[in-house]
């Protein structure tokens, strides 16, 4: 059994004093996130075909499909549907991005989503 002593960590303390601080100056300097970071969900409305696969695979029911009218294709009438995201309940798993066959969805690197107003997180980009 090694000898008991008080202050066995003091040499380490002096070593730590010479090093730069471990904390990040976050609000003043931006944080660099890794390539695979899953942040705010984003959609490219031009690529989206409204197939609604993303709304089916979403584990937390973030995505709801909204009817956007009727599109005529030759002699057929097709319902146009587009997704609306409620990011307040998003768990950032990326399942919708993996399942999108048209690469319309993307997890951006943006993570500053705090807002006093919950309706700010309702993403209706497809309507604009």
């Amino acid at each position: 059994m090694p000898k008991k002593q008080i202050g066995s960590a003091i040499p380490e303390m002096f070593r730590e004093m010479l090093e730069k601080p471990s904390t990040e100056a976050y609000p003043f300097k931006p944080i660099i996130v890794p390539d695979r970071f899953r942040g705010k969900l984003d959609i490219d409305p031009a690529k989206c075909t409204g197939c609604s696969v993303c709304s089916l695979v979403c584990p937390s029911s973030v995505i709801t499909m909204v009817d956007m009218g009727i599109r005529k294709l030759a002699d057929r009438e097709l319902k146009v549907r587009k997704p609306v995201f409620d990011l307040a309940s998003c768990i950032f798993c990326g399942e919708c991005v993996d399942n999108c066959a048209f690469n319309a969805l993307e997890m951006t690197k943006q993570f500053e989503l705090a807002t006093p107003n919950k309706s700010d997180l309702l993403m209706k980009k497809v309507f604009t």
Binding site: K4, E12, D35, R36, R38, P59, I91, C93, E95
Partner: protein, 432 residues
Amino acid sequence: MSAQPEKPPRREESAGLMEYSTESLVPFGPIHPALKEPEYFKLVLEGERIVEVIPRVGYVHRGLEKASESRPWIQNMYMFERTCGICSFVHSVCYAQAVEGLTMFQVPARARFLRTIILEMERIHSHLLWVGLMGHWAGFDTLFMWVWNDREVVLDLVEAISGNRVHKSMNTLCGVRKDMPENMEDRIIERMKYLTDRARYYRDVIDTEETMLARTEDIGRVTADTAEKLCAVGPMARYVGMRRDVRLNDPYAAYDEVPFDIVTRNEGDVHALLRLRLDELVVSANIVSYAVKHLPDGPIRIKIPPTIPAGEHSSHCEAPRGEIFYFAKSAGGRTPERVKSRQPTLANIPTALEMLKGQTLADVPIVLTAIDPCFGCMDRMSFFDIDSNKKWTWSGEQLRQYGINKYFPERAKRQLHGQKFSSAGLGFKEKF
């Protein structure tokens, strides 16, 4: 309006208190700085020593098992991952293994190795978190800050591989979703070597530093017989000398292809737990280094159909806190018929109560932290009747009867006709 229920007697009969007893009763929890999650322990003290502990669990019941019955198989993975905020990946692996057992598909070798790497990284970060908390409760806050600084090293690696620090969302049925990034091998091995050195240094510190020894040595003693009788799991079994580890006893993922040996200690006090977890950290770092070097080529996942064949399967894994258990039952549909999960803290609570007996009141936070509690994970069911202000729990037999009534109504009917119904189950409310 119904009659007011009788007020319970003031004297705590369950605690064995006499009217002029020297024993005093101290409530510990549900909200207490030492407990990160609400849980209640009724401590019976004689002088300053604890003679009896009466736990009351069930504050953080979230209804996970019932919620899983209304969701598709793959979406349940993300929900069960959120059972725990520290060891999240092992829950998804255990659930996935239970479901994979129902299908005829095999998990690819590369996926099994990737699972092993993430599982061991998670063990490292969970153990480091725990060592830091122990330093905090022993009054050694410097250790707490150093350890949590080193924990960032492994969390950065996890974030680079999976894309998130805690909830990796990396697992899927029959595989993993993310492959190992390119040029990560050297970085992981170098960081693991750094963590190994740090773990060895911390072990020296806790062995020699008198402030730490004074708070941990000879505290929370349990004998091997007691721990075995009370079915302790994980580090709580290994610190009294039992070789109980699912990774070794029933290998899952790629543990049968990775050479390693588990660590056990014989002292059976809180200091032995500290030594054990720091030694386990070195073992985990070695497993990660080996698995990264010997990562096989091939696919990382197999796409499986959304419906799972009918049947039952169970799986168990070694979480940082001990053995977790998942049971999945399918009726052949897109959603499970029943999923059961058992978390290690629930199995370790009886041992923790034995550890507390004979300790002083000031040692309660450190002993309760020593079992690495995750109360939010373990709470499964309890009942409250607001109208009559009653609360009760079910025994194992009552739960079994409830299960028979719910899932096998014909059998319950047969029971009713065959014999006069008297036991618990249908009439459970009147009985209490």
